[in-house]
Amino acid sequence: MNEQQYIDAAQAIKARLYRTALLYLGSGSAAVDAVDEAIYKGFLSYKKLRQPDYFSTWLTRILINVCNDELRRRGRMAGLEELPETAAEQFDALPLREAVERLPRQLRAVIALRYFSGYTLAETAEILGLPPGTVSTRQRKALDLLRLELSEEEN
C-alpha cells in the first residue's frame, strides 16, 4: 500500500471510524481526536500492512486501541459510568444512546462495530481479536440489555 492508497482508504472509512469512536467514548470531540490519532498511527505503519484487503479492520483495530487508551487515561475522571450486566432495569430506563454508552466496554464495542459501523460478525471478531462465537455471545447479551431485537439485515 502506498501513501495515496492509504489516504484514499482512510478518507473512505473515517466516518465509520468516527461513529465507532463516538459510541465508544461518548463525546464528539474525543471521537474526532481518536480518529485523528488512529489515522496518524496508521500513517506510521501502513507500509507494513501486508494484506490491504484487511485495511478497514486493521485501522479500526488501531482505533479501538486508541479508544481503550483514552478510557484508561480518563481513569476516574467524571463521565458516564458503565453499568454492570446485571443492571437490566436501569438500561431499560435509559434513552438508547445513553444505554449504549453505559454498556460494559466489551459489549459496547460489539454493538458499535456491528450495528453502527456496519462490520460483519467475522470482521468484528477480527477487529477485537476474539473468536466469532464470543462476539456472537456478547452481541446477544448487549441486545438483551438494550431491549433491542435486530435482524442481520439491520447490520
Partner: protein, 452 residues
C-alpha cells in the same frame, strides 16, 4: 418512541459527522510527516532561542519590516507568528502584504480580516476576532469558499494564534494552484475557556469578497540528470513564488535505491543562500511516480538575478522488501544486525524521560548508534537523525511508534550519536527497527548548477 425507532433515529443521527472530521486525514498526514522532525530534547530549545534572538534583531533593525508594520498595524502582534514562517516573513518584509481591514459581526463574534499574504501556492490570512461573552476565546473551526477545490477539499492548513485575538491561517496547495480566493469563508467559534472548540456550537460564518492578487510562479527549467551515490536523479525545475519555492525532482526507476533526501540550497549572485524550508506535509512531498517536491526558502526577492543550485549531499533507501531495511537489535547480547556500513550500534540503556502521575520516574529505553558520512553542521532542516522509520516491532511482532529520535553532539572523529527512544514498558530481548535511509553522503564535492 420504541426501542427500534430509537435505534433508527440514532443511526440517522450518527450519519451526521462534524466538520472537524473533514480534515482528519490531512492533519494526520501532516503530523506523521512532522513526526520526522522530532529532535533530541536539548536541541529545539537552543534553536528556538537562537531564532527568537534573530527575530528580535530583525524587528529592531529592519526598516522594510517596520514599514510593513506601519502599513498594516495588525502585522505587529502577528510578527511573533511570522518568525516561524521564513518565506512569509520575507514576503512581509518586502511589503508583499495586501491590507484588507474589513470587519463583520455575526452571532456576537466580531472578525476583522486584517491582511493577506497570498500567492497561487500559499495563502496566509491574518485576522483579529473577539466576542461579546466573557470567558470565551474565539477560534477558527472551518475554512471554505475559494480555498476549497471542486470536491470540497482544502489543502494542508494551520492556524496560529498569537493571543489577544490575533490569528494567522496558513494554507498550502499541493496538487493545484489557487485561482481565486473569493469568496473567502471562515467559520469561528466562541469557545468557553477550558472546553473543546469542536464541541462548541456558538459559531459564526464570515464571508469576505476579496480581490486578492494571486501571483503565479516563476518557473526555471533545469532539465538535467545528476548522479549521486550511484543513483540518477532528474532535476526538472524550480518554481518560485513570493511566499514559497519548490524544487521538482524525479528519481530514475532503474536505480537500485529510492530517493530519500537531498541536501541543497540556492545561492544568488550576492552569496545569499536559500535552503530547505519544509511545507506542512514535510521537507519532501512524494507526488508518486518517482516525482518529489522539495520546498525551500523563496529567492523571489533576491537582490540579484543570478541563481545557482548547490547540491551537497543525498540519501537513499535500498529497494527490496521491508525486511531488507530491518535492523534487529539484540538487547541481551548488545549486538545489532542489518546495519549499513556507515552505521554502528553502540548500546542500549534505561534513562529517565519523565515523571509519572504518582511522582515516580518514567523510563525509556535509549538505543545509541553511531553514524558516519553526515555533514559537519547540523541544522533544523538536516535530514540526519531520520535514519530510522518512526516505528519498531517488538519480539512478538507487534509494531509501536518510536517515542523520540534525535542526535547527540558531533564526535571528534566526525561521527554523530543517533539516539532512538522506545517506550518505558519495553521488556523484550530483541526489537526490530527499519532504516529510512540505507545510504547517504553529505560530504561530496558540491554540484553547482546555474539555473538563472
Amino acid at each position: 418512541m420504541d426501542r427500534k425507532e430509537e435505534f433508527d433515529a440514532l443511526r440517522q443521527e450518527l450519519e451526521r459527522t462534524p466538520a472537524e472530521l473533514e480534515h482528519s486525514v490531512t492533519r494526520a498526514r501532516a503530523r506523521a510527516k512532522h513526526h520526522r522532525r522530532l529532535r533530541w530534547a536539548g536541541i529545539p530549545l537552543a534553536g528556538a532561542a537562537a531564532l527568537f534572538l534573530a527575530f528580535t534583531l530583525m524587528v529592531n533593525v529592519s526598516t522594510s519590516f517596520a514599514a510593513a508594520v506601519a502599513e498594516v498595524p495588525a502585522l505587529g502582534p502577528l510578527s511573533a507568528a511570522l518568525r516561524w514562517r521564513g518565506s512569509v516573513r520575507t514576503a512581509a518584509e518586502h511589503g508583499y502584504v495586501q491590507a484588507v481591514g474589513e470587519s463583520q459581526t455575526v452571532n456576537g463574534i466580531t472578525m476583522t480580516l486584517d491582511y493577506l499574504i497570498a500567492d497561487q501556492k500559499k495563502v496566509s490570512i491574518g485576522y483579529t476576532a473577539s466576542c461579546d461573552q466573557p470567558g470565551r476565546t474565539v477560534k477558527c473551526v472551518g475554512l471554505g469558499g475559494g480555498l476549497e477545490d471542486q470536491s470540497g477539499w482544502i489543502a494542508a492548513f494551520d492556524v496560529i494564534s498569537t493571543g489577544q485575538g490575533q490569528s494567522l491561517i496558513v494554507v498550502e496547495f499541493q496538487d493545484r494552484l489557487l485561482a481565486d480566493l473569493s469568496p473567502l469563508t471562515i467559520t469561528l467559534a466562541a469557545v468557553p475557556d477550558g472546553t473543546s472548540a469542536m464541541d462548541c456550537q456558538d459559531r459564526a460564518q464570515f464571508t469576505f469578497e476579496v480581490e486578492a492578487v494571486l501571483t503565479g510562479p516563476q518557473q526555471l527549467t533545469i532539465g538535467q540528470w545528476v548522479e549521486l551515490e550511484g543513483s540518477r536523479l532528474w532535476l526538472d525545475r524550480v518554481d518560485i513564488y513570493p511566499t514559497s519555492a519548490q524544487l521538482y525532482v524525479t528519481d530514475d526507476e532503474d536505480n537500485d535505491a529510492w530517493f530519500n533526501g537531498l541536501e541543497f540550497h540556492l545561492e544568488d549572485g550576492e552569496g545569499n543562500c536559500y535552503g530547505p524550508e519544509g511545507s506542512m506535509l514535510g521537507e519532501i512531498v512524494n507526488e508518486g511516480d518517482n516525482n518529489y517536491v522539495l520546498w525551500f526558502a523563496t529567492p523571489w526577492f533576491a537582490p540579484d538575478s543570478q541563481l545557482t543550485l548547490h547540491i551537497t549531499g543525498s540519501s537513499w533507501s535500498a529497494k527490496g522488501d521491508e525486511d531488507s531495511n530491518a535492523v534487529v537489535v539484540d538487547l541481551v547480547s548488545g549486538t545489532a544486525s542489518g546495519l549499513p556500513d556507515k552505521l554502528t550500534y553502540v548500546g542500549a540503556e534505561q534513562v529517565v524521560t519523565g515523571t509519572a502521575e504518582d511522582g515516580s520516574d518514567q523510563y525509556s529505553t535509549r538505543l545509541t548508534f553511531r553514524a558516519e558520512g553526515l555533514p559537519a553542521q547540523m541544522s533544523e532542516q538536516s535530514p540526519l537523525p531520520y535514519l530510522f522509520q518512526h516505528l519498531y516491532v517488538d519480539a512478538d511482532g507487534e509494531g509501536h511508534p518510536i517515542t523520540t529520535m534525535g542526535y547527540g553532539l558531533r564526535q571528534s572523529d566526525g561521527s554523530y550519536p543517533i539516539l532512538v527512544y522506545v517506550d518505558c514498558a519495553y521488556k523484550g530481548d530483541t526489537l526490530t527497527l527499519y532504516l529510512q535511509q540505507t545510504d547517504w553522503n553529505y560530504d561530496i564535492e558540491p554540484l553547482v548548477i546555474p539555473i538563472r
